[in-house]
C-alpha cells in the first residue's frame, strides 16, 4: 500500500470516484500517462488526473503530494473509508485541509469588464499565435489549417449556424502536435469565452463544438473539452476570470499576471487556449453580449 496525501478533488471527479467506490467489484482503472507533475488515469470512460500542488486544481484533478508509484493492471477496487481514498494499491489520505473544488466558476458574477477585456486582447496581441518550428510541409499545413478553420469557426458562430459550427470544430479538433492538440486548446478557450461573455446561445454552441470533437482527439484533450463545454476549467482560469471582472485600477496587471500563468501552462496549450478565449469574447461582443 502506497500512502500519499490528497489535498483536494474536483467535484465531478470526487463524485465519479464515490460512484465507483459504491460498487463492491473492481472498477476499470488504468494508468494512461505519467509525467513529472501528473499521472493521468482512465476510470471507466473518464479521465482523472493526479497532480502535484504546483499544477493546482482542474476540472478532473486530484491534488496529491507526492505522486504515487505506477498503478499496475487495468482493474482496481476503488473505495473511500476512514478518511482515505483507496485506488488499487494507492491510499490517498484526505489531508486535514482537504476540499472538494468546483471547476465551474460563478459565471454570473464573473463577467469580464470591457476595460479588462481590452487588457486581455492587448496581452494576446503581444503573445500572438504560437510559432511552431517551420520547415516541414506537414507543419506548414497544420498552421494553415488552424488559421483557416478558426476563422471559419468564428464566422459560423457569428451566423449562429450550429451545423457549420460543429463541422468547423470537427476540423479543428485533434489538429496539431501534443497531448492536447492546438485545435482542441483553441476550442476549449473559445467555449470558456462563450460562458464568460454570457453568449445567448452558449449552451447550444458549446454542445455543437463539443459534439464535433467526439472521437477526433486524444482522451485528455477530450476531457478538457467536455469540461469546458459545461463551463468547467482550471484554477488558473478562475484567476483570470476574477481579474477580468475586477473593477480596480490594478485590473490590467492582474489580467496580465493571470494570462501569463495560463500561457506558461503546457508547451503551447496555454497560448492556444487564450487565443480561442479572445476570439470567443469577440464573438460575444458581436452579438451584444455583456462584455
Amino acid at each position: 500500500m502506497h500512502r500519499v496525501q490528497l489535498h483536494s478533488a474536483s467535484h465531478p471527479t470526487y463524485d465519479l470516484l464515490l460512484a465507483a467506490g459504491a460498487s463492491p467489484e473492481e472498477s476499470p482503472v488504468r494508468e494512461l500517462a505519467r509525467f513529472n507533475r501528473a499521472v493521468n488515469l482512465v476510470v471507466g470512460e473518464d479521465i482523472v488526473a493526479l497532480v502535484t500542488p504546483s499544477l493546482g486544481n482542474g476540472p478532473f484533478h486530484l491534488i496529491v503530494d507526492p505522486l504515487p508509484p505506477p498503478l499496475i493492471g487495468d482493474l482496481h477496487r476503488v473505495r473511500l473509508e476512514a478518511g482515505c481514498l483507496h485506488i488499487g494499491s494507492w491510499a490517498l489520505d484526505l489531508a486535514p485541509s482537504f476540499t472538494v473544488w468546483d471547476p465551474r466558476p460563478r459565471w454570473d458574477l464573473l463577467r469580464p469588464r470591457k476595460s479588462s477585456r481590452r487588457h486581455l486582447l492587448s496581452a494576446n496581441r503581444a503573445i500572438g499565435r504560437p510559432q511552431w518550428a517551420a520547415g516541414s510541409a506537414s507543419q506548414h499545413s497544420t498552421q494553415r489549417r488552424l488559421a483557416h478553420h478558426s476563422r471559419e469557426l468564428s464566422e459560423d458562430i457569428l451566423s449562429q449556424d450550429l451545423a457549420a459550427v460543429r463541422a468547423a470544430a470537427s476540423a479543428l479538433s485533434g489538429l496539431g502536435p501534443g497531448l492536447t492538440p492546438a485545435g482542441d486548446d483553441f476550442l476549449a478557450g473559445l467555449m470558456l469565452a462563450l460562458w464568460a461573455g454570457d453568449h445567448p446561445m452558449r449552451e447550444s454552441l458549446c454542445h455543437a463544438i463539443w459534439s464535433g470533437t467526439c472521437e477526433r482527439t486524444t482522451k485528455l484533450a477530450g476531457a478538457y473539452l467536455a469540461a469546458a463545454a459545461q463551463g468547467g476549467c482550471d484554477e488558473k482560469w478562475h484567476d483570470l476570470l476574477r481579474a477580468l471582472a475586477t473593477p480596480t485600477a490594478q485590473a490590467r496587471a492582474a489580467v496580465r499576471r493571470a494570462a501569463g500563468r495560463i500561457r506558461d501552462f503546457g508547451a503551447t496549450s496555454g497560448t492556444d487556449t487564450l487565443m480561442g478565449f479572445a476570439m470567443g469574447l469577440d464573438a460575444c461582443a458581436a452579438v451584444g453580449a455583456r462584455v
Binding site: L32, P66, A134, S138, A171, G174, G176, G178
Partner: protein, 529 residues
C-alpha cells in the same frame, strides 16, 4: 522516395518535445519531410496531404503516437525513425517514476546535495526570482539570474547585498556568462586561459555582446579567464553599474587576467564615470567598448576605446598575446577597403526600386551596433527600429517595416509566449520571406547566433526561408541575403559548417556583424548616391 511510419500506443509527450523530435528528423541527411504527432483524424489528414501516411499510420487512434518520415532511401527513413525514438526516450528519461533521486526544489535542498557549490543559476518566473536569488546570496553563492521581469528595486537590493558579501549577481535578464570555464545561459564553446594563451577578462552588460567578443577571441586563438554578464540594466542610472564595477575590481585582482574587456551600450553618464574610475585604478590594460559612446572619457581614464565589438575583441586579443593591436586592426582595415568593390558588384544585381535594408536580429547588441554603423554611413534618422537609437525612430508597428528597418526579434514583444528566436527561428524565417517579397527590399540581413542552448542548426533553418523567399519571388528580382555567424568551430553547431550551409544557399556571409553592416551601408550608399 520511401515513406516509413512507426505507431506507438500509450506514448505521451508535450508539443515542444514532439516538434523538437520532428525538427531533429528534418535535419538528417536524406529526410525530405517528417512529422511526430498524435494519430488524431485531423493529424492523419495532414500526414496524407504531406505524403507521409502509410496504412499503419492510417489505422492509428487519436491516443497513438505516430512518427512518419519520407526519405530518399529506406536506410535514411529507418535511421530517422530510430533517431526519433532516441530523441523521445532522452526526453522521457527524466520523467521516470518516484524511485529516481529527488531533484532539489529549493536552494537549500540543492546546497545539501552539492555542498561545494559556489554559484546558483536562477531561472524561475520573474515574480519569484528575487526571493530565490536572495536565498542564494544568503548561502554565500554567486548568482547568475537568467530570469527577467525582476523589479529594479529588487535588482538594486540584490546587487547591494552581493557587493556587501563579496558575491557576484549576474543579471537579472543575464543571457550569457562563462565562469571558471563553465558556460552559463546562451554561451559558446570558447578557449579559456589557462591552458590557452591570452587571459582576457570580459565584463559585459549585453549577452550577445559577450558572445560576440568571446567567440571572436576564440576564433583568433585567444583564451579568456572569465566572462561576466551583468544584465542590461546594470549600467542604468538607477542601478548605478554596481556589478560592472565589482566585476572590474575582481578581474583587476585576478592574476590570470592580463587584459580587461568591457562591453555595453553607453551607460548613464554618472555610471560611466564610476565604471571608468575603476578602470583608472586598474593597472592592467582595459579595452572599453561602449557602443556609440564617446572615446574621450575612456582615454582620459587610461582605457582603450573600441567602436565595434569586432575591434574590441581584436585589440584585447592582441594585447593579451603580446601583439601590436594596430597589426590586428590592419586586417580589418584591409577587409573594409575591399567592401566598396564587393558592394559595387552586389549592387549591380538590384533593380532601381530596391533601396532598403531589412535587418532581422536575434541579438539585441548586434541590432544596436548595426544601427550605429548605418546611421554613420546613411545619415542619422534613416533607420527605424523597434529598439531604436532615438525615440523618433521607433517603428509604428514592430511587424511592419518602414524604409531601412532593423528589428530586434529578441525583444519582449516577440518572445512573450514564444521561444527566443535563437532557439526557435520560425518567426524570423517568416519575416524573412515577407521582407524579401517587398519590392523595395534590397538587403535582408540575419545574425546567426550559435552556442549551447540555442537552435541545433540555425543556418539550416534560415536557408529554408531563403529558398522559400526565392521561390516566391519567381526570379522577378534578386534580393541580397546577408548574414554573420556568431560562434566557434567547437560550438555544437560548428560555425564553419553553418557558414558553409549559408553560402551554399547563396547567402553572403561576413566575418562580423560590423562588416556586414558596413557592406550593407556601401551598397545602399552607392544606390542613393
Amino acid at each position: 522516395m520511401v515513406i516509413q511510419t512507426l505507431v506507438k500506443a500509450g506514448q505521451y509527450y508535450d508539443s515542444v518535445t514532439l516538434l523538437q523530435a520532428a525538427q531533429a528528423l528534418l535535419a538528417l541527411d536524406g529526410v525530405e519531410d517528417a512529422a511526430v504527432v498524435m494519430g488524431t483524424p485531423a493529424n492523419r489528414g495532414i500526414l496524407e496531404n504531406a505524403d507521409l501516411l502509410t496504412e499503419q499510420a492510417a489505422a492509428a487512434s487519436a491516443d497513438d503516437l505516430v512518427i512518419a518520415v519520407r526519405a530518399t532511401s529506406e536506410e535514411s527513413a529507418l535511421g530517422a525513425i530510430a533517431h526519433a525514438e532516441e530523441v523521445l526516450s532522452e526526453r522521457a528519461a527524466p520523467e521516470a517514476g518516484p524511485s529516481d533521486a529527488p531533484r532539489p526544489r529549493t536552494i537549500a535542498a540543492a546546497t545539501r546535495q552539492l555542498e561545494d557549490a559556489n554559484l546558483a543559476l536562477v531561472s524561475v518566473a520573474g515574480q519569484y526570482a528575487a526571493d530565490v536569488a536572495r536565498e542564494a546570496l544568503l548561502r554565500d553563492l554567486h548568482v547568475f539570474l537568467f530570469s527577467d521581469n525582476v523589479s529594479v528595486e529588487d535588482e538594486i537590493e540584490l546587487k547591494t547585498m552581493g557587493r556587501e558579501r563579496g558575491l557576484l549577481v549576474m543579471g537579472p535578464d543575464a543571457g550569457t556568462a562563462i565562469v571558471n570555464g563553465k558556460a552559463l545561459g546562451f554561451a559558446n564553446a570558447i578557449l579559456t586561459t589557462p591552458p590557452a594563451e591570452g587571459g582576457v577578462g570580459i565584463v559585459a552588460a549585453s549577452g550577445t555582446g559577450l558572445q560576440a567578443v568571446s567567440t571572436s577571441l576564440a576564433q583568433h586563438g585567444v583564451g579568456i579567464t572569465q566572462a561576466i554578464g551583468t544584465g542590461g540594466r546594470d549600467l542604468s542610472a538607477q542601478v548605478g553599474g554596481i556589478m560592472m564595477v565589482e566585476a572590474v575590481k575582481a578581474l583587476a585582482a585576478d592574476p590570470a587576467t592580463r587584459v580587461l574587456l568591457l562591453v555595453s551600450k553607453p551607460p548613464a553618464p554618472e555610471v560611466a564615470e564610476a565604471v571608468l574610475e575603476t578602470v583608472r585604478a586598474c593597472d592592467k590594460p582595459a579595452v572599453v567598448c561602449f557602443l556609440g559612446g564617446k572615446k574621450d572619457p575612456i582615454e582620459a581614464a587610461g582605457g582603450i576605446p573600441a567602436t565595434t565589438l569586432e575591434r574590441a575583441a581584436l585589440i584585447a586579443g592582441a594585447l593579451a598575446t603580446g601583439r601590436d593591436p594596430d597589426d590586428a586592426l590592419a586586417a580589418v582595415r584591409r577587409r573594409n577597403r575591399t567592401l566598396k568593390n564587393q558592394a559595387r558588384e552586389l549592387r549591380a544585381k538590384l533593380n532601381k526600386n530596391q533601396r532598403y535594408y531589412r535587418g532581422l536580429f536575434s541579438g539585441g547588441t548586434f541590432c544596436y551596433e548595426t544601427q550605429l554603423i548605418l546611421a554613420k554611413m546613411l545619415g542619422k534618422g534613416k533607420v527605424k527600429s523597434n529598439a531604436p537609437l532615438a525615440k523618433g525612430l521607433l517603428l509604428a508597428s514592430s511587424n511592419v517595416s518602414e524604409g531601412h528597418t532593423v528589428v530586434d526579434l529578441g525583444e519582449d514583444e516577440f518572445t512573450q509566449g514564444r521561444l527566443h528566436p535563437m532557439i526557435d527561428p520560425a518567426l524570423r524565417n517568416r519575416r524573412l520571406v515577407h521582407e524579401a517579397r517587398d519590392p523595395n527590399t534590397a538587403i535582408v540581413y540575419i545574425d546567426v547566433v550559435l552556442g549551447y542552448g540555442v537552435h541545433p542548426n540555425p543556418a539550416g533553418a534560415a536557408v529554408e526561408a531563403v529558398y522559400e523567399a526565392r521561390d516566391r519571388l519567381k526570379k522577378k528580382r534578386e534580393v541580397l541575403f546577408l548574414a554573420h555567424v556568431c560562434g566557434t568551430n567547437t560550438d555544437p553547431q560548428d560555425a564553419s559548417r553553418q557558414v558553409d550551409i549559408l553560402r551554399q544557399a547563396g547567402v553572403i556571409v561576413m566575418d562580423s556583424n560590423a562588416a556586414a553592416a558596413r557592406l550593407a551601408g556601401y551598397i545602399l550608399k552607392q544606390r542613393s548616391a
